[in-house]
């Protein structure tokens, strides 16, 4: 635009914004957008989205735009700290790194030599799980997991066991072609910017967005239709949709018969160890019924589609039924009729019927068809690529419930019935997915795999396919401290981080010595029963006088609540001060069209005595002499720290943390020799690498030979074998059979019922475990949280800009409740659950399910934490819902199960039941004050300036 300002006052219009621009990857949340960081006089001036970056294509969210204030934060840790006072008193002294590292190395060395299980190493929001998991197995402890267990393992597990991919970040809707988009329980999600960009694209194209969510805010606010469902009932709603579609014959039989296990023959032999398993030939190939030859043949059969219904007898006399018939009969049950589910879901039957009709219309009426021949993994030629423009996405609203696994599976069943998986217009995989259903990697940590002084033969986390894969000790008791892969949480693909402190404190299944935490605020927003956590963390054994959890090491970058409860603190750098890699071996940033990974480069040098945690971890590993971290001479293998590891580490020959610019010439993609100049190549390319998937390989990827070959070549999958979509879940049946008394490994008596109910090969729904112990009259309401788009968990209260948007949170209550109890906006109430009560200031909301209250997550803070004034609104008027959530269910037969999904161990945050009670006038009078004692300031930590006059490199904050 030309400057027509001649007649106006002169303004310096063309001042260069900065004197230097560096690219990197944002880390104000886990979305991993590309950024361009402007520097002026060596100071941060402006952070903007990188227009070339595949994730955000130039946009930047509120958090990302506040990166500058994270860097200026007075809450940054400055130097390693050692606890001197009693734990929790906040009395620390600053120590040198050498002392810190030798304290840790000595302690951990002893543990490793005696019993490696006594180290529990758990990490939270980090993006280096490929490193931390590897480190844990090299150390030899099975007790490692990242935050996935309390995050969305239900999503991941249901997806990976059903489709070989998942919602979460493992797939995305076809924003360009879908006509109808169902969004289940999402407020923000990890794909923070991509989802917003996608929704905008749908709006632009006039596609319909339906949001299923008790609360209408954010994405739901702009949705064309809002279904204000009652929490925990989505499974019913979805299965009811499936039922309506089935009865109307609006299902893609052809797709199911060709690509899913729907036609596979399920053995019907009640009471035997074979019942419900899939019939296989001697080579282990699943059998289907050839309708022409009238005989069982290996999948997929030759004469067109095999039988999908009926009952057949195999040569050996076994009775079999195609899986599809079983699924259909289940869905046909009256329990899933719209009328039957309406009340529980809070959705009118006619709405369910109409939505089913809309789904059918969108999926089958003039679906996009492309003339294109392609071959599938069973050698079948296809002459067309048929689209199914119906897409779904879901996240924690589905997964953070004790019935989340099956609810999420129900959504995948709906996708399968419509044939809306990885086809044009449908939900589509992001590389490196799809993977086999489930992926081949089994968890390691069985007793014989845990040997003092030795690494474990594999990674701690993986995917079980039957009871034989569980990690149990001799008596069938849990082998991991979080009880993952035990009968309490058999498919705990991400562990149960939310149970570590409780179990360690109870020494159940066994005592540990050191709890090593990284980037997880376990003493606050990432634990349930927050008050209880503080008690357990500080509780001592009356006899020995020792802490029940003897030693706690914590690596954080800011003065979080958890820092206060640690014994040794390893201060980390900020995301602008270190190398990082966003690896395909970890949580990928790919999109449906391409594979991608990225790096962070140090843009500023720390002004404090802090070190990048990954470098510290490698240093510790070397001090402990962990295999892979030292060379044959015992010297550190990666003296250059994490950057050294990123470039030179190889997981398998040719496969390293970064897939781009491999090989001596930097031309290798996926697999390839180490390239010493790899990081430079990334920086030259804007700190990311992106490889477009060949066009012919971008659909039906579970079976598309072109894709399977490409993915194998890239090293994403072991072999180019097709991936079977699991309409019917044999894995589920294996655990159910064990519960029914079959097989070597069976659950203890008192768990048979629980397993038998929770494990079901067919689509199912059961009520929330919390509901079994809460009668509606006592706690009539459901309590949930939402992510505020401008705050990341507990991180950003120390951010001068973001906290001006959310310095305190309200409890949003439905109008019905407000009127019934004569509560008005701004009134103070008690929120009461079976576990406790907290104070909250309310705001009445109309667009809210009338059985639900909610608040923004993790805004409330402990007074004195996060470098804030103890009188900060975060502590005085803010509150943390976690105080009300019990990490344990009420006692059943002398035992208290964890508040988790019985299938995966996913933390059931959103099962919370509560009531609100209006405060008396004098209670309300001093409601606005911190309810817990103030934390002590950390040594060397300033109060922060009383005013900020930040000019981005022109003037210092005064």
């Amino acid at each position: 635009m030309p400057d027509g300002a001649a007649s106006d006052r002169p303004i310096a219009l063309s001042r260069p914004p900065s004197d230097e621009i560096k690219t990197s990857t944002c880390y104000m949340c886990a979305c991993r957008c590309g950024i361009r960081v402007h520097l002026r006089n060596g100071q941060l001036r402006y952070i903007e989205g990188n227009p070339d970056h595949p994730v955000n294509r130039g946009v930047l969210c509120a958090k990302g735009s506040a990166g500058i204030m994270n860097q200026l934060s007075p809450a940054k840790l400055r130097k390693p700290l050692k606890r001197v006072g009693p734990r929790g008193s906040g009395n620390f002294v600053e120590i040198e790194w050498e002392e810190a590292l030798s304290i840790a190395a000595e302690r951990l060395g002893k543990i490793r030599a005696e019993d490696p299980r006594k180290l529990a190493f758990f990490t939270g929001r980090d993006q280096s799980q490929a490193l931390t998991g590897w480190w844990a197995s090299q150390f030899g402890t099975p007790n490692h997991a990242a935050h996935g267990g309390f995050c969305s393992v239900n999503m991941a597990a249901a997806g990976l066991y059903t489709l070989g991919g998942a919602f979460w970040e493992f797939g995305e809707p076809d924003w360009e072609q879908t006509k109808l988009f169902l969004l289940f329980g999402v407020a923000e999600d990890h794909d923070s910017n991509p989802i917003k960009m996608g929704l905008a694209r749908l709006k632009e194209r006039g596609a319909k967005i339906v949001s299923i969510n008790p609360v209408r805010s954010g994405y739901s606010a702009i949705a064309d239709e809002w279904i204000g469902i009652t929490p925990g009932s989505d499974g019913l709603f979805v299965l009811s949709l499936c039922r309506e579609l089935l009865r109307a014959g609006k299902v893609d039989i052809d797709f199911l018969g060709k690509f899913s296990n729907a036609p596979q023959l399920v053995i019907d032999a009640k009471g035997t160890a074979q019942h419900g398993l899939i019939a296989r030939d001697e080579e282990g190939r699943a059998l289907v019924w050839d309708r022409k030859e009238n005989t069982a043949v290996p999948f997929p059969g030759t004469n067109g589609l095999p039988a999908m219904t009926g009952r057949y007898t195999l040569a050996d006399g076994r009775e079999v039924v195609p899986a599809f018939e079983l699924v259909a009969r289940r869905l046909d049950e009256e329990a899933y009729a719209p009328e039957a589910v309406a009340e529980r879901c809070g959705i009118a039957p006619e709405t369910i019927r109409r939505l089913a009709a809309e789904l059918a219309e969108a999926a089958f009426e003039d679906a996009p068809v492309r003339e294109e021949t392609w071959e599938d993994g069973w050698g079948r030629q296809h002459r067309q690529v048929v689209g199914r423009p119906v897409a779904a996405h879901g996240m924690r609203g589905i997964s953070a419930h004790s019935n989340g696994f099956h609810t999420c599976r129900a959504i995948h069943i709906l996708q399968l019935l419509l044939g809306a998986v990885d086809r044009p217009g449908a939900w589509r995989y992001k590389p490196p997915f799809p993977r086999p259903t489930p992926p081949g990697q089994k968890p390691t940590g069985k007793p014989h795999q845990v040997v003092p002084g030795k690494p474990m033969p594999g990674p701690p986390l993986g995917f079980v396919t039957g009871p034989e894969d569980l990690l149990l000790d001799g008596e069938g008791k849990p082998q991991r401290i979080d009880k993952a892969y035990s009968w309490e949480a058999p498919i705990a693909a991400h562990g149960l981080m939310h149970m570590v402190i409780t179990n360690a404190w109870k020494a159940d299944p066994y005592p540990i010595d050191t709890l090593f935490l990284y980037m997880a605020n376990m003493a606050w927003n990432s634990s349930m029963n927050t008050g209880g956590m503080h008690a357990m963390l500080t509780d001592k054994d009356p006899v020995s006088g020792e802490y029940k959890i003897p030693f706690i090491i914590y690596a954080d970058a800011f003065a979080s609540e958890t820092v206060n409860y640690a014994d040794l603190i390893l201060p980390d750098t900020t995301y602008l001060e270190r190398w990082d890699c966003i690896s395909l071996l970890d949580r990928p940033i790919c999109d449906a069209h391409s594979a991608a990974d990225a790096i962070r480069q140090p843009i500023l040098t720390p002004d404090r005595d802090v070190r990048p945690f990954q470098t510290v971890l490698l240093d510790l590993g070397a001090r402990l002499g962990l295999p892979g971290m030292v060379d044959d001479s015992g010297a550190p293998r990666y003296p250059g720290g994490y950057a050294d590891y990123i470039v030179n580490h190889e997981r398998k020959p040719g496969v390293g943390p970064l897939a781009g610019f491999r090989g001596p010439d930097g031309k290798g993609r996926g697999r390839g020799a180490v390239n010493p100049r790899q990081l430079d190549a990334y920086i030259e390319n804007g700190c990311f690498w992106r490889e477009e998937i060949p066009a012919e390989a971008q659909h039906h990827r579970f079976a598309n030979q072109a894709y399977l070959d490409w993915a194998t070549e890239m090293g994403f999958i072991e072999s180019p074998a097709p991936i079977m979509l699991q309409l019917y879940s044999e894995v589920q049946q294996r655990f159910r059979l064990a519960a029914e008394g079959h097989g070597e490994i069976q659950p203890p008596e008192d768990l048979r019922g629980r397993i038998g109910k929770a494990f079901d090969p067919l689509p199912t729904w059961y009520s929330l475990l919390e509901d079994e112990s809460n009668d509606d009259s006592a706690y009539p309401l459901r309590g949930i949280t939402q992510r505020p788009m401008a705050m990341y968990h507990s991180w950003h209260s120390q951010n001068a800009w973001l906290r001006q948007i959310h310095a305190a949170n309200r409890l949003y209550i439905p109008r019905a409740v407000a009127e019934a109890q004569d509560i008005a906006d701004d009134d103070w109430v008690w929120a009461v659950s079976r576990h406790g009560r907290i104070k909250a200031q309310v705001r009445v909301m109309l667009a809210l399910n009338d059985k639900t209250v909610w608040t923004w997550n993790a805004i409330g803070k402990r007074a004195g934490a996060w470098g804030l004034d103890p009188g900060a609104p975060e502590a005085t008027r803010g509150f943390l819902l976690n105080h009300l959530i019990d990490e344990l269910l009420p006692e059943q037969g002398g035992y208290r199960f964890s508040n988790s999904d019985p299938v995966t161990g996913q933390a059931a945050w959103y099962d919370l039941r509560l009531k609100v009670v209006k405060m008396t006038p004098d209670e309300a009078l001093d409601a606005a004050r911190a309810s817990e004692p103030t934390l002590n300031p950390l040594p060397g930590m300033g109060k922060g300036p009383s005013r900020l006059l930040f000019e981005g490199g022109k003037e210092e904050a005064s």
Partner: protein, 314 residues
Amino acid sequence: MHPAPSVIAFTALSGAGYGLLFLLGLGTILRFAWADSRWVMGVGLFVALALVIIGLLASTQHLRRPERAWRAFSQWRSSWLSREGVFALLTFVPAGLLFLSAPLVGSSGWFPWLCALLALVGAAATVFATAMIYRSLKPIRQWHHPKVVPVYLLLGLGTGAALLTVVLSFHAGVRTAAIVGAFVLLAAWAVKWLYWRDIDQAESSATMETATGLGAIGKVRMLEPPHTEENYLLSEMGYRVARKHAEKLRHLALGLVAASIFLLLLTAAVGSGWGAMLIGWAAALTALASAALERWLFFAEATHTVTLYYGRAA
């Protein structure tokens, strides 16, 4: 609107000052007997100018960058605040000359006559400009109102007259001054009373529906503010006085005027002397107090359309 003490003091005091100046000017022009008394003119003008100066100084307290106040004289073409400044400045010239000349040449002759005329006009114009600053603000319906200007002018004149009564305590003119004062105050508060009735009845033309443009969909209510803590907009324009509280203060104000009117009439009755001096003072102070109270309510009862965006009526 936030009732800033500085602005209240400014408008009330300078208002009275200009009112007194106006009357002194008038006396000079119409050749009232007391206008010949150098003593009366001297003291009168001194009090008037002192009040004006104190008021103006108070008003600069309201500025975040007072060192740049001089720039405020530049925009008289468009800005009533600027005009007020200019008028105030111009008025000092004749008023000052009158003050200086009175002891020497007295107030007879063409020169004092001219100064008095200019000072009178200037005083009226300045108060008028002050009133217009508020009168012209559309977002604040209680200010953007035809009765605002008359109230400002009449109150200035009334309080000025009350002060003149004091100045004339030992002069025959005290009777007329007191009676005039009583009647002007009566008039001022009559208009104010009608003003109150208006703003209590009137509905704001701007509503949450028009402010957001969402009225076509339905009734609008605030769900979440953009910031959880107070900001400039709210502390400056979000101020709200409780209905009941305002009522009380209105009555108090009316009580005070009633008192000062009564006292003025009493002064008129007793006539010049120490009595007049004492009662006159009481009358003047109650009048000023009621004026200050009126000004406080003028702000506190004013609502700004920005509050619509925060879910409150305007």
